[in-house]
């Protein structure tokens, strides 16, 4: 069904393209609009007045504004995975095939069941939830909150992954301008002509700001022509960039600004390879806020009736979109600007029912206009609106002097004056200042480098906007050292502005301050009576200004009403703190590219693709993808694969990619001395060609990291770190080099990525190596003893480094080749070891073998343990100073009852040991008082055919053989374990030296 009749569309005029009709659906009904419409203007053109139900009372609501300040006309846009709740119809660009649905209504917008809430309105006042749903407490989460959330609320999120992409980008400029109204365009002209790099951000899809609706004459040209001429001139400047559909939403440190560009929101689906939205971080030397002002409502009974609209919004719908929100319009104003609406209405052929002006006097010119067009001018204010979901029917007026009058109208335009958009100027905790002449807050200073101009600065005349913008643009360019000629400012007349402040008209019936959150004038008064007088308390108690519109049309009215009931002035009452973002920004835009598998950068080992070919299961360790195990056909689970890998190593030979270890070249004549200072043990006395295990402490005496370091030449050491701490240790060493020991001649470079490194382990290691290492190299125990380290030639001509070190407890070497040879090496190891049954193994088997061997790793080097706790206290040299030495001697760090590393095994060999289980003396009731430590690492040991582990246990090494209780409340388990020697496998170390 096509409801093609745009019953409320003017025959001509406006900035819509009637040659491009667009079909769209609202609540299932097909309607038509034109290119250039927003969803809201198209709804207006189709005579749709009712667009949503309110948050708490489910009252019928219409369209209040024509911009991003809209509190009422919120819809669910699109469907399926792209469904976006709470989208403002006033800023959503119409496109062909757009689908929108009204929110917070059931079963339908016109017949909403929960509108009965209005009958209970007297009890749904501010603080209702806090007072009512207090008992029983456990009902809150289970019953009350879900029920309230169903009844009160907004749109529904899609609930499935967003199929669109977002990205982030940086931009740099001299002068950043927010807003493309007359002030913003004038600023861009002046700055651009001066030679500055300019970025102008405009929220709308068309530049021009209020000029688009209100027109005017600039430099003798109609506004539209002036805009076109200005855009053409700006377009000819290569360093001026105008970004439409882009909202500047935040101000951060050092001249950095946040902006969101709605790149493809105006299309049903972004074109292939394009993003939906882009988050910009803009670095600017100067910024000019020309963000305009927001017209503010006057609070009166029934002010939320569909058909009650801001006067400027009515001008936008009529002037810009050629759509008429009403046939017979009344205006309620307290200022001169509101009267423009009368001219617009008359120009569009609408009837003017009456003007209700709250000021004491109206100019003779207006009276002449009124009599010429046959409408009354009523001195007074609107006391109530008779109407409902079909819109406004009658307006009750209370006349100055006390008499009452009634006006028949189907639309009411309201103007309570203008509030400058001070958000951007206030995001660094600035507080705006009050100006009595316009009864509004204006910026009082701004973050460094920023200035506000035009309406955002309280200058409401067109001429003043142009002058201020132009001057600021020229000054900003000059501040940036751009000395070009700006020429002269565009010229226009200044309109008169007179206003008599009016915030709230007392009357019978609900008068809404915050329409999005259903906060009424009486809620503000109630908050005051209950002691929530501070504006910050008012906000939290009533939720005023806390909806997605952030109170753009309600905050000032709310605090004005609070000021009235407390007898304070508005500036004394003050504003709440302004915080970014200025408009809601999708989390997807902040995430950008960083989602799913690209959530963070990943690092791949040199053997990664080979391991993937083998079907390896990968595990994320930090940024790395590491092969965890290599499943084979027929293996039923990981344990079976890992057990096979361990047995293959212990019984034959296997290899594992250990390229993830941090590797650091330490160069220079003082390299040895340097290492002596960062490690607890000595390295200056290490012979060239030898490796040594080293342990480094933090300054506070706690263990920081461990690894082997080899001396490759007199002035060249090769240091390795754990995978987890590689980057941190590099930082730490650079700090030591540059800050602590600048007198040492030592140079550091990360070579982590230079080398592909593999551990080859098992009794047949030497046999494998003899296949691949050049026969001239002596790999015997004498020629290459345990802890030897040197360069060797490989068959085929390349050089490798060989280190005789063992983590598995087996006869083992680590071999490293330059990384581009890494994949070739792994393939050659498979060829060389084929007859030996060489087995690649992953990090799980590596972990099993290190636990069997009692080697400490991350779970034990956990930031609380000392060298002695780890059983490595004897390594602490007494012949030299080193980082952490003094602090390691503190009483608590050498106390005899510390928890130290010990082996743990269940007395029942069939039981699985779990890490995290607490150690409690046998026979005692578990509690914090007798908690003696916990199990840190566990594995199933194929060698011992049972689960074993390491633990940190109080006086553990003195208690070998003692049976204690492993208490695991998380898993509901408790069982006996024996404390034992942590070296479960080959405690004499014969195998690795063999």
């Amino acid at each position: 069904m096509v409801g093609g009749a745009q019953t409320h569309r003017l025959a001509d005029g406006g900035l819509i393209d009637r040659s491009v009709p667009l079909s769209f659906r609202f609540d299932g009904k097909t309607l038509l609009g034109f290119q250039g419409d927003t969803l809201a203007s198209a709804l207006v053109a189709n005579g749709v007045k009712l667009v949503g139900r309110s948050f708490k009372y489910h009252r019928p609501r219409g369209i209040l504004t024509a911009g991003s300040e809209e509190p009422n006309a919120l819809v669910e846009l699109r469907s399926g995975a792209r469904r976006e709740p709470n989208t403002k119809a006033t800023t959503a660009e119409l496109y062909d095939g757009l689908e929108a649905a009204s929110q917070n209504r059931w079963p339908s917008l016109r017949h909403d069941f929960l509108s009965v809430n209005q009958l209970f309105a007297p009890i749904f006042v501010a603080g209702f939830y806090y007072k009512t749903f207090m008992w029983p407490a456990k009902f809150w989460e289970a019953v009350y909150e879900p029920a309230i959330r169903r009844a009160a609320g907004l749109g529904r999120a899609a609930g499935i992954a967003d199929p669109d992409h977002y990205d982030k980008a940086w931009a740099h400029c001299d002068v950043l301008i927010a807003g493309s109204g007359p002030a913003g365009l004038a600023a861009a002209l002046a700055a651009g002509r001066s030679g500055a790099r300019v970025i102008l951000c405009e929220e709308d899809f068309v530049p021009g700001g209020r000029l688009l609706a209100d027109g005017g004459t600039i430099d003798g040209l109609p506004a539209a022509e002036w805009i076109a001429r200005t855009l053409a001139e700006l377009g000819s400047m290569p360093d001026v960039r105008i970004m439409t559909r882009t909202t500047l939403f935040g101000v951060y440190d050092g001249g950095t600004y946040g902006a969101i560009e709605r790149v493809n929101d105006h299309l049903p689906v972004p074109p292939e390879h394009q993003v939906r939205q882009r988050l910009w971080r803009i670095v600017a030397k100067r910024s000019i806020v020309a963000a305009g002002a927001i017209e503010r409502p006057i609070v009166f009974a029934g002010n939320d009736t569909p058909g009650v609209m801001m006067a400027s919004a009515m001008r936008s719908y009529v002037g810009r979109y050629a759509a008429t929100p009403a046939k017979r319009v009344a205006l309620f104003t307290n200022n001169e600007d509101g009267w423009r609406t009368v001219q617009t209405a008359i120009g569009a052929g609408l009837q003017v029912a009456a003007v209700i002006d709250a000021r004491p006097d109206v100019s003779p010119a207006h009276r002449t206009l009124a009599s010429k067009n046959g409408f009354p001018v009523l001195n007074g204010s609107v006391a109530g609106v008779d109407g409902g979901k079909d819109g406004v029917r009658k307006i009750a007026v209370s006349l100055t002097g006390g008499a009452r009058a009634e006006v028949d109208a189907d639309g009411l335009a309201v103007s309570g004056g203008w509030n400058p958009s001070v958000g951007l100027t206030s995001y660094h905790r600035g507080r705006p200042k009050w100006r009595d002449d316009i009864a509004a807050f204006v910026p009082d200073g701004a973050p460094p480098g920023m200035v506000a101009v035009g309406a955002a600065n309280g200058a409401f005349g067109l001429g003043a906007c142009l002058r201020q913008g132009f001057e600021a643009g020229a000054a900003a360019a000059s501040d940036c050292g751009r000395g070009g000629t700006a020429g002269s400012a565009p010229v226009a007349d200044d309109e008169a502005f007179s206003l008599t402040p009016l915030w709230h008209v007392a009357g019978k019936g609900k008068a809404f301050v915050d329409q999005q959150h259903d906060v009424t004038a009486s809620d503000v008064e109630l908050a005051q009576r209950e002691g929530f007088e501070s504006v910050e308390h008012l906000k939290r108690y009533t939720t005023l200004g806390m909806a997605t519109d952030q109170g753009k049309t309600s905050n000032i009215a709310g605090l004005a009403i609070m000021a009235a009931v407390t007898g304070k002035s508005i500036p004394e009452t003050g504003t709440t703190i302004y915080r970014p973002p200025y408009v809601p920004v999708a989390i997807g835009a902040f995430a950008g590219h960083h989602r799913d598998e690209t959530f963070h950068a990943t690092r791949l080992t040199p053997s990664h693709h080979w391991a993937a070919e083998q079907g390896a299961v990968f595990v994320d360790t930090g940024l790395w993808k590491r092969a965890q195990w290599y499943p084979r056909a027929g293996e039923k689970d990981w344990l079976e694969s890992v057990t096979r890998e361990v047995k293959a190593v212990r019984g034959g030979v296997g290899f594992c990619d250990v390229s993830t270890l941090g590797k650091i070249d330490v160069h220079g004549p003082d390299a040895g001395v340097f290492l002596d200072r960062v490690y607890i043990n000595s390295f200056s006395n290490l012979a060239v060609g030898k490796a040594r295990y080293g342990l480094m402490l933090r300054e506070d005496g706690i263990v920081y990291d461990d690894g082997t370091t080899s001396r490759l030449a007199e002035h060249h050491y090769f240091l390795t770190t754990t995978t987890a701490k590689a980057g941190l240790v590099m930082q730490h060493l650079e700090f030591c080099r540059q800050v602590l020991f600048p007198e040492l001649d030592v140079q550091l470079t990360s070579v982590s990525d230079q080398w592909a490194q593999f551990s080859i382990a098992g009794p047949k290691t030497r046999e494998l190596l003899r296949e691949i290492v050049d026969p001239s190299e002596d790999l015997s125990n004498e020629g290459f003893p345990f802890m030897g380290a040197r360069e060797v030639a490989l068959r085929g001509g390349i050089k490798a480094r060989l280190f005789r070190i063992s983590f598995s407890g087996e006869m083992a070497f680590e071999i490293s080749v330059p990384a581009r040879y890494g994949e070739a090496l792994v393939r050659n190891l498979m060829i060389a070891g084929k007859s030996l049954g060489v087995t690649p193994y992953g990090t799980e088997a590596l972990g099993v073998m290190r636990v069997e061997k009692g080697h400490v790793a991350g779970p034990e080097l956990n930031g609380t343990t000392t060298a002695a706790d780890l059983g490595l206290g004897k390594m602490m040299s007494t012949k030299k100073d080193f980082i952490g030495r003094v602090m390691a001697g503190r009483e608590a760090l050498v106390a005899p009852d510390r928890q130290v590393v010990v082996g743990v095994k269940p007395t029942d060999k069939a039981r699985r040991l779990r890490s995290g289980a607490h150690v409690i003396p046998k026979g005692e009731i578990p509690g914090p008082g007798n908690d003696q430590g916990y199990v840190t690492s566990v594995c199933f040991s194929p060698t011992l055919d049972q689960w074993i582990g390491l633990g940190l246990v109080e006086r553990g090494r003195e208690r070998i053989g003692e049976i204690v209780r492993a208490h695991d409340p998380l898993r509901g388990e408790a069982y006996d374990v024996e404390l034992c020697n942590p070296v479960f496998y080959d405690p004499e170390g014969g195998r690795q030296r063999g």
Binding site: W170, T598, Q754
Partner: protein, 207 residues
């Protein structure tokens, strides 16, 4: 005795697919992996920065950069990598670590980084728009001229960036990235570049 072949694989060998990528039509960008280069990091010994600079001048005929710049002669580029240190980028072993050992003996420590980095060269009409998604650095031609360099990060990954000589009237940007991060950054680059249309290739020639 088995035969061993020692084929080299560049960090992007397994992931780079030559040809067009992303939006169709005229490519806004070209992305080229430069393979099989020599890269040596020279770091002045304590108090020997002047000697190192003199040695570099004697060897390469240009003064080594003391600020974030890249300078070069016909067969080597010297890229600033920090205070009193720089990279020497070259091909074919002429300025590899073994060749340079005697040049800088006593004045600098050398570290071979040839296999520790991938080198990606980016150029084309939309190169700055694409790099703006990755880099917080202002790449405006007046700010980041030919020969400008930066030790920076892209996508949380450490990168050495410099602007090479223009090619066909287009700016050329070179990115040195750690080898093990290269695939990850490559995919981020492709994501960023896809909307402009890309021509992907690889080369053994330094730009």
């Amino acid at each position: 005795m088995a035969e061993f072949s020692w084929d080299i694989r560049s960090p992007l060998d397994r992931t780079l697919v030559t040809g067009p990528y992303g939006a169709r039509g005229e490519a806004g960008l070209s992305l080229t992996e430069i393979r099989n280069f020599d890269l040596v990091q020279a770091m002045a010994r304590r108090g020997k920065a002047a000697e190192m600079a003199a040695a570099a001048k004697a060897r390469f005929g240009v003064a080594a950069p003391e600020t974030p710049k890249a300078v070069g002669n016909a067969d080597a580029t010297l890229i600033w990598s920090g205070p009193d240190q720089f990279f020497v980028l070259s091909k074919g072993g002429r300025h590899g670590i073994e060749a340079l050992a005697s040049v800088f003996a006593g004045s600098a420590s050398l570290s071979d980084q040839s296999h520790a980095r991938a080198l990606i060269s980016v150029s084309g009409q939309r190169v700055r728009a694409m790099l703006a998604k990755l880099s917080s650095i202002d790449l405006h031609p007046d700010v980041f001229a030919v020969g400008s360099a930066a030790a920076t990060s892209m996508d949380h990954t450490s990168v050495t960036l410099w602007r090479g000589g223009d090619r066909g009237g287009q700016a050329v940007f070179n990115l040195l990235v750690f080898s093990t991060f290269a695939e990850s950054l490559w995919h981020t680059i492709l994501d960023s570049a896809a909307e402009y249309g890309v021509t992907i290739g690889h080369s053994e020639e330094l730009a």
